[in-house]
């Protein structure tokens, strides 16, 4: 059974009571701020993901543009500083022989990775597409 002190006796609160009240207030405020911080972090995280997906799509586009120009596309790491510092990597490899996709001839796996340091930890996003590129046939003269 909890017995409350008679507040009209003119004694006021003790130091421990005040400390406990301040502590509880602090805990409540911290929880509220933590909740707000986590929601903000989620918004920023998803925004970064959207931007990184757009960057990866642009990487795949650059590779397609280079193919159309009959140029090679360098499969090396690229650094982008805007809007967030991101390292981009592109690779196009033939389907491995032991894969279930090996029965499809002339299929390449195009992979683009984006890595950036987020609010809390390192984030990574990957886009994978399949590219059909048959060997070019020699034109027969009529």
């Amino acid at each position: 059974m909890i017995h409350f002190k008679n507040l009209n006796n003119g004694d006021g609160f003790t130091f421990i009571e005040v400390s406990l009240a301040v502590l509880m207030l602090g805990i409540m405020l911290t929880a509220a701020l933590g909740l707000q911080n986590s929601s903000f972090t989620t918004i920023v995280k998803y925004s970064e993901r959207l931007r990184s997906v757009l960057m990866l799509k642009n990487v795949l586009f650059d590779a397609a543009y280079a193919r159309a120009q009959n140029k090679g596309y360098a499969q090396e790491e690229k650094k982008v500083t805007e809007p967030i510092e991101t390292s981009l990597r592109y690779s196009a490899q033939k389907v491995p022989q032991n894969s279930s996709l090996a029965s499809f001839a002339d299929i390449f796996i195009e992979k683009a990775d984006a890595t950036w340091s987020g609010v809390i930890r390192q984030n990574k996003e990957t886009l994978i597409t399949f590219l059909y590129q048959p060997p070019k046939k020699e034109e027969t003269k009529a």
């Binding site: 405020l29 642009n58 543009y65």
Partner: protein
């Protein structure tokens, strides 16, 4: 005598309460700022994702309708030998004569920003119409219209199975309904890329001369970048060398934040999947008379006997 607070008690009380109030105020201030920044991020992201997705959806299905390469449908003239299989079909053809589809891919600018972008796509949003399941071939028209106070642009989108571009200009209830994609565009610029025909021809020449295409295929192909497409005032010779649709499209999109104080720029790139198919169609028909093509398509022999008397006995 009633005892009150001493001065020291009051000062200490005020000091503690001011610290608590300061902490509360700063937390509210930060909260307000976070809400504002979050709103801006969400607002830009929602519109960015919407525009990027909608353009990707529409542009991935761009194609050149096949009937344009066929003379009978392109010119709109009915073939004399062609007989309608049933009277009902003949009636239908009479009611809806096939017209040449013009403005396959059109884009125009106003003050360096996009004004109109229209094309034919097989990836429509609306699959069912009043009459039932509709055609997958639709025309899409994007327009960039300045808002009332001219601080931003509104991007609108129209879609219809009616392929005539002029039908999209009709206003009121008879017109084709459009809807707003976003209101917060600061600017939208479009660039169209296509391979230069000269280079392709040169490449073909080298191939013939050397007899081997290994080196010729290594030759880089130069791409030309234009900011408008399908302009009326282009010279006929130049028009011949330009393909019907571009191979790549680059959109430079500048979006305002919620309060239109700051803007962010995004580059959206799209490849037109049907470009090579449309070019092959063009190459196979290139330089050949239209009559010949139409005869070939009907399965007749071409170029052997022109005015020879018919030796075969008629049944």
């Amino acid at each position: 005598m009633r005892s009150g607070f001493t001065l020291i008690e009051l000062v200490i009380g005020l000091f503690i309460s001011s610290i608590i109030l300061l902490a509360l105020y700063s937390s509210f201030y930060v909260t307000g700022k976070v809400i504002k920044v979050s709103d801006d991020i969400i607002n830009i992201d929602v519109h960015l994702a919407l525009i990027a997705h909608q353009f990707e959806n529409d542009l991935s299905g761009i194609f050149v309708p096949l009937q344009l390469s066929s003379t009978s449908t392109a010119t709109g003239a009915a073939e004399p030998n062609q007989q309608a299989s049933t009277p009902k079909q003949a009636e239908q053809e009479k009611e809806s004569p096939q017209k040449e589809i013009k403005d396959i891919f059109v884009s125009s600018n106003k003050d360096t920003s996009l004004q109109l972008l229209s094309f034919i796509t097989n990836n429509p949003l609306q699959m069912h119409h009043k009459e039932g399941p509709g055609s997958r071939m639709v025309r899409v028209v994007y327009r960039l219209i300045p808002n009332e106070d001219k601080t931003a642009f509104i991007l609108t989108r129209q879609e219809s199975i009616n392929l005539d571009l002029k039908a999209f200009d009709v206003k009121g209830q008879q017109g084709i309904r459009g809807y707003e994609l976003t209101q917060n565009i600061k600017s939208l610029q479009v660039e169209f890329l296509y391979p230069e025909e000269k280079q392709q021809d040169e490449k073909k020449d080298t191939k013939d001369a050397k007899g081997s295409d290994t080196k010729a295929e290594q030759q880089p192909i130069a791409f030309k970048t234009v900011k408008e497409w399908g302009k009326e005032n282009v010279a006929a010779k130049e028009k011949e060398s330009i393909p019907k649709i571009p191979q790549f499209i680059i959109l430079t999109l500048e979006l305002w934040d919620l309060n239109r104080r700051q803007s962010q720029t995004f580059i959206l790139n799209y490849a037109i999947a049907s470009f090579n198919a449309s070019q092959q169609e063009k190459k196979s028909d290139r330089g050949r008379p239209r009559e010949m093509l139409s005869q070939e398509k009907k399965g007749q022999q071409v170029g052997k006997i022109v005015n020879a008397p018919n030796t075969q006995a008629k049944p």
